[in-house]
């Protein structure tokens, strides 16, 4: 949330302290008191001072959070009475942002004693971080915005954060989509585009629908008025129009033929409709699924770690089906059934307007009730989706953890825990059916009542007034009965509409998501990679406030083997994730062969950096295909060679189908060590310039590790290798080692050099591991 100017009121107030608007270098709003109450306030920075202005909130004040503020062009009037506190910048040390559970605290040491400067909600956290960097820059005697580039500067433009139509702030400034202005109609139009591809099929579909509708409209007329009033009544005058005067039997025969013919045509159109629908529907579902899946694959790792797999699966699998239902079944039917209703009423009106009026007298009521009931459907569809998501997440969770569940004998408890979301889904489903039934009952009721009225009043007309003939009455009854289908349809269509648009909305959310890691336009290609890596001042954290890596400077020469040591959680894996650009650095830069990884083409980068990590990914398919992952053209010879180097050849040859053995869904036929060796083989085959081994031999036995170590010795030749390991013996051959602790490089040197530093972390660790080895050797 951006709010980087002091109000006029405050500017006037701080004039007392001889501070003018031009002195203000940086501003951040604050909104909490140390006692945990909302307040109004700002902190600001000048060359000499850090100022804090606070005020109680006026009564009736509404607190706005990200995405809710409606932008007003002229500045909001600020009448609050502020209290101003100034801190001498020279006395401030260790200014620090501390993120707590529900609030953020800015603290520092002032004159040597720790103090709280300000507290605020997460709303302004990003801005506070920037503010702190400004403060540090000033303290270090730099320009206040030194080293602050790109994204942060862009965001200064406040106008871009608000929707130009309704003036509401975008919930996600990167996406610039205003949820309030993206209404259901826009989504509808977007889905429609998917169908344009099948214009021809859809045109035929409509045609056949229209034909079917026409026949169904003519039908009551033929069987009612024509049959009874003209043919059976021997209406010569009418028959003469067709040149059939007096030939009643022939007329009857022709009428019968026409009736049979209509029925046949109806059947044919039905068949055509079904065939076309099946084709268009499946193709569109297919298109949408492909789009969603490719959008998902493009997204950065962050997206997947923040969402449950089960929920994502629901989206890809069932949502895309749900979208098309309305479009394939619904839209043409709206058109056809709508037409049928209108034509029916017109015909009825022409036949006898009084009775037509009676037939449709309940329609306004119907429209009214429909409008009233409809919003409920929208909510229920959303609710059903969430229930469905919960069920599939639970199932997914449980199936992957089946081993633990069984080991702890928790089957019963798990079943019980599954019952809850499952019951919720049932409830949600029942609620939808209930509401749907309300619609159906309403619509049938209207239709039934109308039909009874027609009978009563019609019979009255026929008997008493002699105004209409029996045939007309029968035609009328036929028409009213004929409305049954369309009415029934309209009772369903609203449900279809809300379900479809609801699902479409969720799919577009994914399609519209912007990957955090994007390739630059005109990226630089690595022609002849050397494999030199340089990290300068790299700072990174998965969340805004907690930095996992702090100010890392590291240079790895071409062909060097660098070992990385450190406690678990020290930031080792994060460091290598940054080099293969699974995440982008927050500050600083990473260069490969002197080119910033952000400027490199992603495919080049990934091709030249291969990673063997602690979590191995073995997909469904043969062993050979798994080894050749990302390298489809590999020959059998190359695959075997790679497997041999990885120490995998032996166990693969022992499997009954050798390299053609198909590994099960989650690689359940392989042990952890075997999987790891396959992924090592994969990396060997990929032949990268930079090889990253992240605990690559953690789950293999000592003997195999030795074997792999030997082959790795061959493998690392001519490559830059970064190797993370807990067992220091694994890193014996490294040219250089670094020790990372708490996100910083604390020690650096060769094995021998580090071991000499008796106070160091490395020495301690080495000692400890030797000792435990000695114990086990006894």
């Amino acid at each position: 949330m951006k709010d980087n100017k002091l109000t006029k009121n405050i500017l006037n107030k701080i004039k007392e302290y001889k501070i003018h608007e031009s002195d203000i270098l940086s501003v951040c709003p604050i909104d909490l008191s140390f006692e945990g109450e909302y307040i109004l306030g700002y902190i600001f920075l000048t060359k000499d001072y850090l100022g804090v202005c606070t005020s109680d909130i006026p009564s009736g004040y509404t607190h706005f959070f990200r995405g809710t503020k409606v932008h007003k062009k002229d500045e909001d009037e600020d009448l609050a009475e502020y209290e101003v506190k100034l801190f001498d910048l020279k006395k401030i040390e260790h200014i620090h942002v501390e993120r707590m559970i529900g609030a953020v605290l800015l603290s520092a040491e002032y004159d040597g004693a720790p103090i709280k400067i300000a507290s605020l909600t997460n709303t302004y956290l990003e801005q506070l971080n920037l503010f702190v960097r400004h403060t540090k820059n000033i303290k270090n005697g730099k320009d206040f915005d030194a080293d602050i580039v790109g994204k942060e500067v862009e965001e200064e433009d406040e106008e871009l954060l608000y929707c130009p139509i309704c003036g509401t702030m975008y919930p996600d400034p990167a996406k610039k989509v205003c949820p309030k202005c993206t209404n259901k109609r826009t989504i509808f139009a977007r889905v429609l585009k998917y169908f344009f591809k099948y214009k021809f099929s859809i045109a035929i579909l409509f045609l056949s629908y229209a034909l079917g509708a026409a026949i169904s409209v003519v039908w009551p007329y033929l069987t009612g008025k024509v049959l009874f009033d003209h043919v059976l009544e021997k209406d010569s005058e009418y028959l003469a129009r067709f040149g059939l005067a007096g030939k009643f039997m022939l007329a009857l025969a022709i009428l019968a033929l026409i009736m049979i013919g209509s029925r046949i045509i109806e059947e044919i159109t039905n068949t055509v409709q079904m065939a076309l629908m099946a084709r268009v529907a499946t193709s569109t579902v297919n298109d949408i699924k492909t789009d969603v899946f490719s959008a998902m694959s493009r997204l950065s790792l962050n997206f997947f770690t923040s969402k449950q797999t089960g929920g994502l699966m629901t989206r890809v699998l069932s949502d895309s089906n749900r979208v098309t239902e309305f479009f394939i079944d619904g839209i043409p039917s709206i058109f056809i059934h709508g037409m049928t209703i209108i034509i029916t009423f017109v015909v009825m009106y022409r036949l006898n307007w009084q009775m037509a009026l009676i037939a449709c007298i309940l329609l306004p009521l119907l429209v009214f009730m429909t409008v009233k009931l409809r919003p409920g459907l929208w909510n229920l569809s959303g609710k059903r989706h969430r229930a469905e998501k919960a069920v599939s997440s639970k199932a997914n969770d449980n199936l992957t953890g089946a081993r633990v569940v069984k080991a702890f004998g928790q089957e019963e408890a798990e079943i019980e825990r599954f019952t809850n979301p499952n019951n919720n889904l049932k409830e949600a489903e029942i609620n939808i059916v209930k509401l749907r039934n309300k619609f159906t009952i309403l619509y049938s009721l209207v239709q039934e009542i109308s039909s009874i009225w027609i009978w009563i009043i019609g019979v009255f007309f026929v008997l008493k007034t002699d105004k209409i003939d029996l045939g007309v009455l029968l035609t009328f009854v036929g028409y009213v009965a004929h409305l049954n289908g369309p009415m029934n349809f309209f009772s369903r269509v609203f449900r279809m509409w809300s379900e479809s648009i609801n699902a479409a909305q969720r799919l577009f959310e994914i399609i519209d998501s912007i990957p955090e890691i994007v390739e630059k336009e005109n990226p630089i290609h690595l022609m002849k990679p050397r494999g030199e890596i340089e990290l300068s001042n790299v700072t990174f954290g998965y969340t805004v406030s907690r930095n996992v890596l702090k100010n890392i400077n590291l240079k790895v020469k071409e062909g060097e083997v660098l070992g990385i040591v450190g406690r678990s959680g020290a930031g080792k894996s994060t460091l290598v994730n940054l080099i293969s650009r699974l995440y982008d650095v927050k500050e600083g830069s990473i260069k490969i062969d002197g080119v910033d990884v952000k400027d490199l083409s992603l495919s080049d980068l990934r091709k030249n950096v291969a990673m063997v990590s602690q979590d191995t990914y073995i997909f469904m398919g043969s062993v050979a295909k798994n080894i050749a992952y990302g390298n489809e053209n590999a020959t059998g010879d190359e695959i075997i060679r790679a497997a041999k180097l990885a120490g995998a050849h032996d166990f693969i040859s022992k499997m009954p189908d050798g390299y053609d053995t198909v590994i099960g869904a989650s690689g359940k036929d392989l042990s952890g060590g075997e999987k790891q060796r396959i992924s090592i083989a994969r990396a060997i085959l990929a032949d990268p310039k930079i090889l990253i081994l992240d605990e690559a031999t953690a789950s293999v036995d000592t003997e195999t590790e030795k074997a792999i170590q030997n082959s790795l010795k061959l493998l690392v030749k001519g490559r830059t290798t970064l190797s993370i390991a807990h067992r220091l013996s694994t890193l014996r051959d490294a040219d250089r080692l670094i020790v990372i602790d708490n996100g910083r490089i604390v020690e650096e040197g060769t094995h021998a050099e580090l071991d000499q530093n008796e106070e160091g972390f490395f020495h301690k660790l080495n000692e400890l591991q030797n000792k435990s080895l000695a114990v086990t050797n006894f």
Binding site: I101, G102, N379, N742
Partner: protein
Amino acid sequence: MAEINTYEKEAEEMTRMTVITDKDKFERTNGGFVNLTKDGILFERVKVVRLFPFTDADKYISIRENSAKAKEIGIIEDLGALDENTQEILREQLRLNYFTPVIEKIYNIKDEYGYAYFHVLTDKGECKFAINMASNAVTKLSDSRLIIMDLDENRFEIRDVNALTQKERRKLDLFL
């Protein structure tokens, strides 16, 4: 060998559970922080962390060092059993640490294209916030207790859904 022993001592420290009792002294500092003196050792501006923030907010409070590692000094088993003054000192820290307005009244909830807009009255004042429907913004602690997280992960709590009016519940229906 001496070094190995320090290492082992560290390991032992890591696994030991220390209880903080009435004998240990908490003090408020001028800057608004808390110091703890335990067994004659002064720990400056300690961190106060709830171990069961939802199910039992006043039991099992972890007191940790103010360092990057945030090593645990000890655990308070029951905050309510400490003397009033100490309780107030610690509660002050907890109030800000776990700042979570409680929603008392729901004016409106509007679901728009992947986001839901809330307009509510909390014990801290009137608030308007938005949540992302796609992420797990609403956590159900029990059948009737909800934690709602806005786009910046600011927390709001609904203590008891059943205490809301029928009309408010219907607005919230989407998340129940």
